[in-house]
């Protein structure tokens, strides 16, 4: 029983769900729920991105591009193509998945700096597309998103969105954990340690890289769509380079290769600026110092370091 509970897929998910309920009950007002929703949406992207960075060992500096495409899918499709708002996120996901699939093979043949550059370029292209095609996207000022209706009911309350975000995050974590625990996950980990060794052992390296890339891109797109529907407004910033970097930092800060660590990274990085508004001018300095401290002293990321410390204490 206890061994079953200690499994990330069961115990971890239960703990996550418990934390979600606790946050809902403890939140003094809607502002806290708003921050929690933002954390949840970022966490969805990070969970997927972690599979790519932490497991497959491939860097992507362009994931905000996929996030942005998803966001604009739920903004542009209903207005210009008459797609119902509820279907738009899924159409967006398919389109993004297809795009990721097409670019994955050539891009993922690159390594290290070159891969970083290629994904960076991809993100920038999306950003420029969203900024320049102003007749569809509203240009740099962005555009409004039609509010979501389910059975004629307008979904705009924070309570509703908190519920939707929590359910989607739990689903994506569950899916990701399953994937990690499957032959695909083991192949990805082998690939992370040594591509050549993995290849020698019979792993189809290219195929598994593509799977991780497409999966993470589709998850980013879904989170982007949800974020657009939630906030009712999109701007190209969402697809911007800085957002890509933020997402990678969340992965690294929380712990590469740790799905729940990524969620903690998203939580810390999304909520910290809100805590630091009290210091206004020093906000960026403090944020930078905290990041540096974590990177220097907890090199493997927050969650793995904490778990290690707990384990060591138990042994001694």
């Amino acid at each position: 029983m206890s061994a079953w509970l200690m499994q990330p897929r069961t115990g971890g998910l239960l703990l996550l769900a418990a934390v979600m309920v606790a946050i809902y009950l403890a939140a003094p007002n809607n502002f806290y729920l708003d921050v929690a929703i933002q954390i949840g949406l970022n966490a969805m992207v990070v969970v997927g991105l972690n599979l790519l960075i932490g497991y497959a060992g491939q860097i992507s500096l362009g994931h905000a591009g996929f996030f942005g495409l998803g966001a604009y899918a739920s903004a542009v499709l209903p207005v210009h193509l008459g797609v119902p708002p509820l279907a738009a996120p899924f159409v967006g996901m398919l389109v993004v998945g297809l795009l990721a699939f097409l670019v994955a093979r050539p891009v993922l043949r690159l390594k290290g700096h070159y891969l970083a550059m290629a994904t960076l370029g991809l993100g920038l292209l999306v950003f420029m597309l969203l900024t320049n095609e102003s007749q569809f996207t509203g240009g740099p000022d962005g555009m409004a998103v039609e509010r979501l209706r389910i059975f004629g009911e307008r979904i705009s309350g924070k309570d509703w969105w908190y519920l939707i975000t929590c359910v989607m995050l739990l689903l994506s974590v569950w899916l990701t954990l399953n994937l990690i625990d499957s032959p695909t996950g083991r192949a990805l980990r082998a690939l992370h340690d040594s591509q050549i060794a993995a290849q020698v052992a019979g792993v189809d390296v290219a195929r598994f890289k593509v799977i991780a890339f497409v999966y993470s891109a589709m998850l980013a797109s879904l989170a982007g769509s949800m974020s657009a529907l939630y906030s009712g407004f999109v701007t190209p910033d969402k697809a911007g380079f800085l957002h890509s970097i933020e997402l990678v930092i969340m992965v690294v800060l929380g712990g590469m290769g740790s799905t729940f660590g990524g969620i903690i990274g998203a939580a810390v990085l999304t909520s910290l600026p809100q805590f630091l508004t009290v210091f206004a001018e020093y906000e960026h300095m403090i944020l930078g110092a905290i990041l540096m401290a974590v990177m220097i002293f907890l090199r493997r990321g927050l969650l793995p370091a904490i778990l290690d410390a707990l384990r060591r204490r138990r042994l001694s």
């Binding site: 502002f31 740099p140 962005g142 705009s156 701007t235 805590f275 009290v278 110092a289 002293f297």
Partner: protein, 389 residues
Amino acid sequence: MSLMTFLKATAATSALVAVAAFATGLTAGEAAAQIRIGSVLSITGPASFLGDPEDKTLRMYVDRINAEGGVNGEQLELIVYDSEGDANKARTLATRLIEDDEIVAMVGGSTTGTTMAMVPLFEDAEIPFISLAGGIVIIEPVNPFVFKTPHTDRMACEKVFEDMQARGLSRVGLISGTGGFGKSMRGQCLNVAEAYGIEIVADETYGPRDTDMTPQLTNIRNAQGLQAVLNPGFGQGPAIVTKNFAQLGIEVPLYQSHGVASKSFIELAGAAAEGVRLPASALLVANQLPDDDPQKQVVVDYKTAFEAEWNRPVSTFGGHAYDGLMILVDAMRRAGSADPVAIRDAIEETTGFMGTAGEVNMSPDDHMGLDLTAFRMLEIRDGDWTIVQ
């Protein structure tokens, strides 16, 4: 204790201190009878040239109003957050102002993008929001709780076309920047051109980082029967256009937009700027206004106060914040209460209010209340602004 553990402990403590400070920041200042007003501005980031003077203006005038006894016998408390020009951040911060700080009104939103991201929140919460951004989408269609103080791009186009009409110019070449400002103004100019009998004979664009606009200007010069050129744009682009325009020896009048209404434009364009016309706020020529001008008092006072306090030249953007705050305070005094809905009703009834952008007369259909007299047509002569009569 090793160095490592010491440093770890320090990092952990500083994080705890930050959290504690946040908690105290939330609970502090709830005792006194105060009217809380909020603001989300782009104080840092690419739009800081808007947010910074707006922030300085709001702080300065809230202090002054409080020193003079506040509003309706209560002190104002101003809460300002920095959106860094990011619409998503602006939205979260606006949620915080509404839900956590429980403000009664908002003066802020430096850019059209951040403003539009915050509008739905204020609409749902029924709290008045006076925006400081230019885009016409903010007030069209009218949203009951949303107002704005700056003139729109469309008005700048209309002012320019009005001046062209008076000079008998009708065949116009357009060269626009592709940034948010240039793009939006180009669209508005194309929309209103016909109403002023203006025909757009050439329509060229340039990127925000282009350093030579000679090819586009050559195309415009070759347009049949060209009578004037208009350049909607922002930043250094218009200065380069102005220089290239002089180098090519194009003989028709050149019009710039209100986007270049600062001394740095004249410095950048140098001698080529001579004779260029542009619509701008009266604030830019405060001291040159005739003494009987009804706006003179307001703009000279604001200019003097701002420059004395911050020791830097006044900008029209800070003026928008001044107008927003004063309209709000005026409305609260007339309403005699700090109830958001009562304030909203009073803002909508604002008439004859003289601000730095011009005389404001709001109505249920017009949540900006400015007309074309708000703009002054200026011409650059001898490296300085001159009012065109």
